[in-house]
């Protein structure tokens, strides 16, 4: 029997290929059921006009019971958006990826949520504890217990 995660990801991938991604989101690479990449752009007027970011999803066999490890790619000249909830190493402090994760959420749902998180940004700045955090940050953002102070 295929694991829950591979059947589920196969289904998500099929939907993406059949129906396409929402505007501003594009699948870059999904060759297996362990790591996927998307590009993400904010449509319309926003602080991130004309910027494009790359999102990386890593799945463990417990997906979707456990959340995917999601971060912005910061290698090969790519950068993480300057945002109060995005660290310069690409880690994202978003409750939806932590304690608010729900197994009914999907990869696309996460992309859309992050897209609107960027769209509603009022001021481009790093989290106040950025320097401290990236010095000791674990490789996998899921290992960090973020404190979600607001839900913007």
């Amino acid at each position: 029997m295929a694991s829950i995660s591979s059947r589920r990801l196969a289904k998500e991938l099929m939907e993406i290929k059949n129906d396409g991604c929402p505007v501003g989101i594009n699948l870059v690479k999904a060759d297996d059921f362990s790591t996927w990449w998307f590009t993400i752009q904010v449509m319309g007027e926003s602080l991130y006009k004309n910027e494009q970011f790359t999102l990386q999803f890593r799945f463990d066999p417990q997906y979707p019971i456990s959340s995917p490890a999601v971060q912005f790619v910061v290698t090969d000249g790519k950068e993480a958006p300057v945002h109060p909830h995005v660290y310069s190493n690409g880690h994202i402090c978003a409750s939806i990826l932590g304690n608010e994760w729900s197994p009914v959420l999907s990869v696309i749902a996460v992309c859309v949520t992050l897209q609107s998180m960027l769209a509603s940004c009022k001021e481009k700045q790093r989290p106040i504890d950025n320097d401290r955090y990236i010095k000791h940050a674990p490789e996998n953002p899921k290992k960090t217990r973020f404190h979600y102070d607001d839900d913007t």
């Binding site: 829950i4 059947r7 289904k11 417990q62 456990s66 729900s102 197994p103 009914v104």
Partner: protein, 644 residues
């Protein structure tokens, strides 16, 4: 949403089966078989006798006993609110088991209380779930609806509203015809496999007992009954004791472990919300201690609430429950425990002794929590400086050959030059028996004379090392004594076979070692106390008592590590002490002689220990102790007696 949803929730008055597991609900028997090895502070439950100055009243509770209390609270709430047990449990958990506050809030705004606790969805909560009379503890199991979607004939009482046509699980997208679907009463269905994986991951990986519906934005929390039925099987399964998870492919063992853990999480939640309860910190242990210390923290400056949970060692059957319970090392493996042997408890199955007032595991009497914590912190900060002290080898101060300590006794004899000395201070042993010599007392003169910063910091380090050295040594000696005893134990049992001595009669060694270990614990902590005690008359008297106990302990230790008689009435013969232990006595006496000596010494050591514990405890109650530094809860010392 619609009324059929409501029916779905309310349709639960059948199924009155109450199969609460028939567990032993009796209290733990505190009457250990070896009461006499304790110092009278093995307080007996319910005896109500007046305890000593260094004891507190407490009760040990087994997990089933705590569960019984929880159930009484749940029943109480069911009775008042007319809700089912699952709902009552959720309400209580959300209100930290404060019944009075819950009742008040519930009367004030029922909807809000139900929604906040995850017992109802906002739109359902308008309907008070009290139209039926009190329900049985099982009634909510109908909240959990499941069916085989392929087999429309299977069970007629299934809720009609779940269409029997194809169901695709929204989590895993499985659409096999024999898929079982489950939902809380919100109706957000998923397959049994997904529910099973989700609930196990919440319990095992996150230690969570409030398990919300899997659907985003739905704040409904799974009831205890839902978890029970999902993991170990709904009531009425073929064999009530067998684990029959709803999900056919679930790992039965994993489910049983997770359900166990879930119950433990509920108990822990209950215990942690009651200041008079504390969960036993020993790995794998599920007992709770109840102790009413009275008004908060202040009492901890005068009392050391040392308690025992009533259990010993590490429960064997929890080896696979340990993961996630605690990352602490287990001591049974360190001592090569093989569990209780031959009817009695084994000496390395330590009793679970801990402090009710602070996180220190073990007995830190006679020193109060604040001082003990400061000392532990100090030791941690200075661990590198002091590491060398823990080494098992030192150089003979006379001939410089390496000497290894292989017992708990501090009376050392150099194998090479026969120099007899004290392991702790390296001074000649001959002086230790004399009245004017005190190995335990630190000569403060050095630090008083020190004028410049450098020599002051040196003096301060020396002072710390004096206390730390003795602290660490008692810990090490206790361990070495136990190691040595374990070797002797076998001999003693052989002796029983070849002589007329009974099993009881050969237990004197074990009793002595038990006493020795406890007294070394007392001594250990007296050095933490001594480090912070301000100089003066009171400290001198304290150190006199400390010295007398230490002397008695070392004498007993030496006696225990001397050569063993090999026969019951062997004539006194030759035989010299081993390198580490046994100088003094030399020859072998008869077993009965040894027994008499050991027993007498043990009684004396117990008496000295009681004096230290009682006098120190009395001093705390009287507010007699003065400190040389600021200690939480105590008056700050005058500048002239500060030692920083």
């Amino acid at each position: 949403m619609s009324s059929d949803e409501e029916d779905y929730y309310m349709d639960s008055d059948d199924d009155m089966m109450d199969d609460v597991q028939d567990e032993d609900t009796s209290d733990i028997d505190m009457d250990d078989d070896d009461d006499d090895t304790d110092f009278g502070y093995d307080f007996k439950v319910g005896s109500g006798s007046k305890h000593k100055s260094y004891q507190v009243d407490y009760t040990s509770l087994s997990q089933p006993r705590v569960e019984q209390t929880m159930k009484e609270d749940v029943d109480h709430i069911c009775g008042i609110f007319g809700v089912d047990a699952g709902t009552a449990s959720l309400l209580l958990r959300n209100e930290s088991w404060n019944k009075e506050r819950l009742i008040e809030k519930y009367m004030d705004n029922t909807t809000k209380v139900l929604v906040d606790a995850g017992a109802a969805q906002p739109e359902f909560a308008l309907v008070r779930p009290s139209t039926t009379a009190r329900r049985s503890a099982r009634s909510t199991s109908k909240l959990l609806s499941f069916k085989k979607s392929s087999n429309p004939t299977s069970s007629p009482e299934q809720p009609e509203r779940i269409p029997s046509t194809s169901f695709t699980c929204p989590i895993c997208f499985d659409d096999s015809p024999d898929l079982k679907q489950l939902a809380l009463h919100c109706g957000h269905a998923a397959c049994s496999g997904c529910w099973n994986a989700y609930v196990i991951s919440k319990i095992r990986d996150e230690g969570e007992h409030c398990i919300r519906c899997m659907t985003e934005g739905c704040a409904l929390v799974a009831t205890d009954e839902f978890i029970h039925d999902l993991l170990v099987g709904p009531p009425g399964s073929p064999a009530p004791t067998a684990v029959t998870p709803i999900d056919p492919s679930a790992d039965v063992h994993e489910n049983a472990v997770a359900f166990n853990r879930f119950n433990q999480l509920l108990v822990r939640n209950f215990v942690s919300s009651n200041p008079n309860l504390k969960f036993c910190p020993f790995p794998g242990c599920t007992n709770t201690v109840e102790c009413s210390l009275g008004s908060g923290k202040a009492v901890l400056t005068s009392v050391v609430p040392t308690v025992k949970c009533g259990a010993r060692g590490i429960p064997q059957d929890t080896s696979d429950l340990k993961e996630g319970v605690s990352g602490k090392a287990t001591f049974s493996s360190a001592l090569g425990s093989s569990g209780p042997s031959g009817g009695g408890t084994s000496i390395h199955d330590k009793e679970h002794v801990f402090c009710f007032g602070c996180p220190i595991e073990g007995d830190h009497r006679p020193v109060v929590c604040a001082v003990a914590k400061m000392w532990m912190k100090k030791c941690e900060d200075d661990s590198e400086t002091a590491n060398w002290i823990k080494s098992n080898t030192k150089e003979c101060s006379q001939c410089q050959s390496t000497i290894e300590k292989n017992g708990g006794c501090n009376h050392m004899t150099c194998k090479k030059c026969k120099y007899e000395f004290c392991w702790v201070c390296m001074g000649p042993w001959s002086e230790h028996g004399t009245a004017w010599y005190s190995c335990n007392r630190y000569d403060e003169k050095g630090s008083i004379d020190a004028r410049d910063a450098q020599s002051r910091s040196r003096a301060s380090l020396e002072r710390y090392l004096h206390y730390y050295n003795r602290w660490a040594n008692h810990e090490q000696s206790a361990k070495l004594s136990l190691d040595l005893y374990l070797k002797t134990e076998k001999k003693m049992e052989d002796l029983q076979l070849t002589s007329s001595l009974t099993w009881i009669e050969v237990q004197f060694m074990r009793r002595a070692v038990d006493v020795l270990l406890s007294c070394r614990t007392t001594l250990k902590w007296t050095y933490a106390m001594g480090y912070y005690l301000a100089r003066g008359n009171e400290k001198d008297l304290f150190e006199d008592n400390q010295r007398d106990l230490e002397k008695a302990v070392e004498d007993l230790s030496e006696l225990l590590e001397g050569p063993m008689p090999t026969e019951v009435d062997a004539a006194a013969g030759s035989g010299s002490g081993e390198g580490g232990g046994g100088g003094g006595q030399g020859g072998q006496g008869s077993i009965s002689e040894l027994r008499q000596k050991v027993t007498d010494k043990t009684v004396y050591v117990q008496k000295r220990n009681e004096i230290v514990l009682d006098d120190t405890a009395q001093g705390f109650l009287d507010g007699r102790w003065r400190w040389n530094t600021s200690i939480d809860g105590f008056e700050d010392p005058a500048d002239e007696i500060r030692v920083d």
